[in-house]
């Protein structure tokens, strides 16, 4: 099989890349190793309304709920409320990823791309030292998909980058290991996403509750890998739920790893582009990855189209992707990496102190950066090394 570009992985990043390239007239093949796109979900499913809407028209079919804002709890229970439009890229809509991912893949198919499920990339095909597509296993048979460019949107467990010589392996401090229940409990606030901080609850991470309507919610947590131990996320989550909502009805359980390494050294190679979690483009503070992946996917689709038409699909021809994602989403990812490295070191006492310090301030209309500015003003000594982030 021969095409212009083969995209590995039909998550939001891969589908947006494939769709964008197909819309520009390229012959595109999108492969997904699972037999069902979008399942199992490895995600808390929260996204900001404004940013999502800038890339795709919101469809009630894949929106589980809309929230008014976020509530953030310190270890001692002190809390603040942030409004939806200011709470960052994870708050606004709570999606139904199983339906969302499929809808994006179907849009991609409608744009002209060939979608192939149960098709797992095994290796890159090389000819004269250049990447010429992927060898894959489809329904148990080996097939070669020849292409000028391979877009690796193959998630946290990405192989495409490694095959191309980019070391994307995550060190323990570069990954949040997570567990999540979809549960029903009367105590779930349908109007707010909630975040609970604390080293006892989730070392170097947080517990989240993202409502999906009628007292259903994704309740999960992430633990920084460097402070985790075998099975810790599931154990801690069970403890949280058993303690705080003993009557909860758990109807689904998922686990996953979220890259929080921040920008990696390079995301392109000769004939290869990495997108989304595969490029470690998830947000190091929130762990949100959907929107960054989609945005990077669009950039990748555009750049690859140009590269294919110009005939230069080597590093030079793909360099615009590297530049464009770093100048857009990359800046915030880098800033949030600094924030994460600092915040995972804070004790519960520090976290409580920070939360107490802003109780008298009106943070409801502030975004994360504005709030950080206020926090630094009120706690200059503790937060001195973060001042460059708000300048």
């Amino acid at each position: 099989m021969r095409c212009d570009v083969v995209v590995v992985g039909a998550g939001p990043g891969g589908s947006m890349a494939a769709k964008t390239a197909a819309e520009r007239g390229l012959k595109v093949v999108l492969i997904e190793k699972r037999q069902e796109i979008g399942d199992p979900v490895r995600c808390a499913e929260g996204v900001s309304k404004a940013r999502l809407s800038s890339m795709i028209k919101p469809d009630p079919k894949w929106i589980a709920s809309e929230v008014k804002g976020a509530r953030l709890y310190a270890p001692d229970g002190t809390s603040i409320v942030m409004s939806e439009d200011k709470s960052g890229d994870e708050v606004g809509y709570v999606l139904e990823r199983k339906i969302f991912d499929r809808a994006l893949a179907m849009d991609t198919a409608r744009a002209g791309a060939k979608v192939m499920v149960k098709t797992r990339a095994l290796d890159l095909i090389r000819r004269d030292g250049s990447v010429r597509g992927v060898r894959a296993m489809r329904y148990g048979e080996i097939i070669d998909i020849e292409a000028d460019v391979v877009i690796g949107a193959d998630g946290v467990e990405s192989k495409v980058g490694r095959w191309a010589g980019i070391d994307t392996s995550l060190k323990p401090g570069d990954i949040e290991v997570c567990a999540q229940f979809l549960l029903y409990d009367k105590s779930i606030d349908d109007e707010y996403c909630e975040f609970f901080l604390g080293n006892e609850l989730a070392p170097g991470g947080y517990v989240w509750s993202f409502p999906k309507g009628e007292h259903l919610a994704n309740v999960g947590l992430g633990v920084i890998g460097s402070r985790s131990e075998p099975g810790a996320p599931v154990k801690l989550l069970r403890r949280f739920v058993e303690t705080r909502m003993p009557d909860a009805r758990i109807v689904e359980m998922v686990v996953g790893g979220v890259p929080v390494s921040g920008p990696i050294e390079r995301t392109i190679a000769d004939g290869v582009v990495l997108v989304g979690d595969a490029a470690r483009q998830s947000d190091p503070i929130t762990g949100g990855g959907i929107l960054n992946a989609m945005q990077a996917g669009v950039i990748a689709g555009e750049v690859v189209s140009e590269a294919v038409s110009s005939g230069d699909t080597g590093v030079e021809g793909l360099m615009a992707y590297e530049k464009r994602w770093r100048e857009s989403i990359g800046k915030q990812i880098a800033r949030h990496l600094d924030l994460k490295e600092f915040f995972i070191r804070l004790s519960d006492e520090d976290l409580n102190k920070l939360m107490h310090s802003i109780q008298s301030e009106d943070v409801s209309k502030m975004d994360l950066r504005g709030m950080l500015r206020v926090l630094i003003r009120l706690n200059p000594k503790m937060l001195w090394e973060l001042r460059h982030l708000v300048m």
Binding site: P172, I175, V234, V254, V255
Partner: protein, 59 residues
């Protein structure tokens, strides 16, 4: 060698992402371990469900 308890594994692929030598692969609902495994134990520590264990020495 690394053994995977399939009754515990949540097939999330976190282990694949942290493996320094690309010795693991997530295929649908199971994890494959190749001979390239160096038994560093990083995947064991990071598994969210505790499904992985390192048993015996490499022989």
């Amino acid at each position: 060698m690394i053994t995977v308890n399939r009754y515990v594994c949540g097939y999330c692929g976190a282990c694949v992402g942290v493996c320094p030598v690309c010795a693991l692969e997530l295929v649908e609902t199971w994890i494959e371990v190749s001979d390239e495994c160096i038994e560093c134990g990083r995947c064991v520590k990071l598994c969210p469900t505790g499904a992985l264990s390192l048993e015996g020495a490499k022989g």
